[in-house]
Symmetry: C2
Subunit: 274 residues, 2 copies
């Protein structure tokens, strides 16, 4: 029996969902059936949601009344939800009152402020960083590396591209990435094109068994995906990182978010966009 | 005078930062100086943070004692922060106790659960979706469109690529994107390669003045970036969307998060990854 959870918002739902995931992750023994309901910004939409909450609450095959985590700003809309038969944790009611007192200021009670962009500059930085990541993906070009904040290096399928794109999209950071291949492993020295940017390099490494599984998804039963090939490449790339003094991180059990934020924390990179 | 805010976490900091942004966005009259401090996972690191909090609190040029929004799980570490001279809003203390009662279950109190990946399947889907977005970016290929959940169409620099990548990275959704250019505007009909996938199309449109500004960042004073060119293209693309019955969204004042989540809400797409 799964416990139903609704993340409800009058905006994107990102805040309610992000917070909700964090909280629920603390309860490993319970299975949750999670739904995000964004843009619930009218009383009519809220009434439809309340009906659904009540339906689940009455459903004996559900694991209890639904949990509701919401970031609805408008009290009229919120009241419709809170009248339904769920267990509601209201984020704004919980925190905004307290903040009003501490800041001695009135909240604007405006909807969807957090992820709406008025700031074109911040938007432009993120977009520009995304295009930088694309133009400098997979070693496609190296001549723009002087503009890069960071150059992620590692073997094929160690997570370079998603990491680069995540940092660009979320933080407006300019990240190039460069694949290290067998050709680079002869003398365990950095390729010439990377040497002058050594201070910007950050390495990714990964467990060979996991790497082989990932590569097999892409090219099943190829020499490229074989465990022996993956073991050879990972051993060589780690030796190179150590020899050249390139900081690196073991990505095997990390999410893209963790890889990105750990690298940023390690090298002291701060977000460039809000 | 800016009010200092610290988002503090023993994990990535994403939850504290996301929630914090949402809350602070409700106070438009106050300027905030925001810092995210991730991976504060030892008492020693917490003590360094507490020192910094106290320094700011004593600083007369700061706008008051710091605001602290934290998602630290370990009470020992949290206690060090809460002993410092800040105004602390503790997310887990606020909500986890309540959830324990409602769920009749004990929280595991494990650090950084939310953004850590144990679920390889969810990770693989996101990575695969990112590579799909890259392979099918900017109309590069159209033969894989049968695998796409969605095909985003619009004029150059209307936000197709960042939107596609965001949906892939955050939600594991397979999104191709295809640029509509002058060649497509003669008869205001969809290009042949899109026609059979019409039910998957979603259009982006944008204010021509904003489009011209964005294009000027890329190619200053080019015909491509001229206001008249942008006006012509936007008028044509909107006429085409209307004529062909392609749903579309005005992106001018929207963030990437909003564009993505609004499209998903409109067409009823759900995340494929956690």
């Amino acid at each position: 029996m799964k416990r139903t959870v609704f993340f409800i918002s009058d905006g994107t739902g990102i805040t309610a969902e992000t917070l909700g995931h964090s909280l629920l992750a603390q309860f490993e023994n319970i299975e949750f059936d999670e739904s995000t309901l964004p843009y619930i910004d009218t009383v009519e939409k809220a009434e439809a949601v309340a009906k659904e909450i009540n339906r689940v609450a009455k459903d004996e095959s559900a694991g209890g009344r639904p949990i509701i985590i919401d970031t609805i700003v408008d009290k009229k809309i919120r009241d419709v939800i809170s009248a339904a038969d769920g267990y509601m944790m209201d984020v704004f009611e919980t925190f905004v009152d307290k903040l009003q007192t501490e800041l001695a200021s009135q909240a604007v009670n405006a909807v969807g402020k957090s992820h709406s962009i008025i700031d074109n500059k911040s938007y432009n930085v993120r977009i520009d960083a995304v295009h930088f990541a694309l133009d400098n993906d997979d070693g496609a070009r190296t001549k723009h590396y002087d503009k890069a904040d960071l150059i992620v290096v590692g073997v094929s399928r160690s997570g370079k591209t998603p990491t680069s794109l995540y940092m660009a999209l979320q933080f407006g950071i300019y990240v190039g990435n460069y694949p290290l291949t067998e050709d680079d492993f002869d003398d365990l020295r950095l390729p010439a094109s990377l040497r002058e940017h050594k201070h910007k390099l950050f390495g990714l490494t990964i467990d060979p068994i996991r790497l082989s599984a990932i590569r097999n998804e892409r090219r099943a039963n190829s020499p490229y995906a074989s465990l022996s090939q993956c073991q050879m490449e990972v051993r060589a790339v780690e030796a190179m990182f150590n020899r050249e003094g390139v900081p690196f991180i073991q990505t095997t059990h990390l999410s893209i978010e963790e890889i990105s934020t750990r690298i940023m924390a390690t090298v002291g990179l701060k977000r460039r966009s809000l």
